[in-house]
Symmetry: C2
Subunit: 104 residues, 2 copies
């Protein structure tokens, strides 16, 4: 399992709309993707227009090849891209260590 | 509960040493801090010298006031700071939404 982390910036004043849109995008599109395992979305306290989207995928290729090269990618972009103030920075990570309570 | 996210860059060739040091820092210092709840450390796949450290704190002040202003901060920095290629970027986040499986 690998972790995708996307660093997303939206324009001021759009938080409520974006919160609803990204949740809808996850539930209606990402959740149907092959290899999708889990997600977490957090919003900045110092930077309220900054969001970190974390998606756990079974393999790197489930995201970079199958999802980005498949039909779901356009559906996802149609929902969330209108809110992007800039192109999100997206990288992938593997686990070094985590506490048992890291779920919370 | 809030999430601290630190974006850490280390010099090339130091991964094994840093992996051991940051785990030791978490277990021997951070775990003793008031308000510490959980942690996760991931290492970049595209950028192997990049680490994302996530720490869940009960409140923002547990990190920014009590931890940074208390005696544990110097202990923590002594363990991890020698590996920093630059000053880490650190911000705090609140949860928007997460799947039940986000623990994995």
């Amino acid at each position: 399992m690998i972790l995708e982390i996307a660093d997303i910036h939206i324009p001021p004043g759009k938080n409520a709309e974006f919160d609803a849109a990204i949740q809808r995008g996850i539930e209606t599109v990402i959740a149907r993707a092959e290899g999708y395992r889990a997600h977490r979305i957090v919003r900045g306290i110092e930077s309220p227009e900054r969001y970190i989207l974390m998606i756990w995928w079974q393999t790197l290729e489930d995201h970079t090849v199958k999802f980005r090269g498949g039909p779901l990618f356009a559906e996802w972009r149609a929902i969330v891209q209108p809110f992007f103030a800039a192109a999100p920075s997206v990288e992938h990570y593997s686990l070094v260590t985590a506490s048992a309570g890291a779920a919370s």
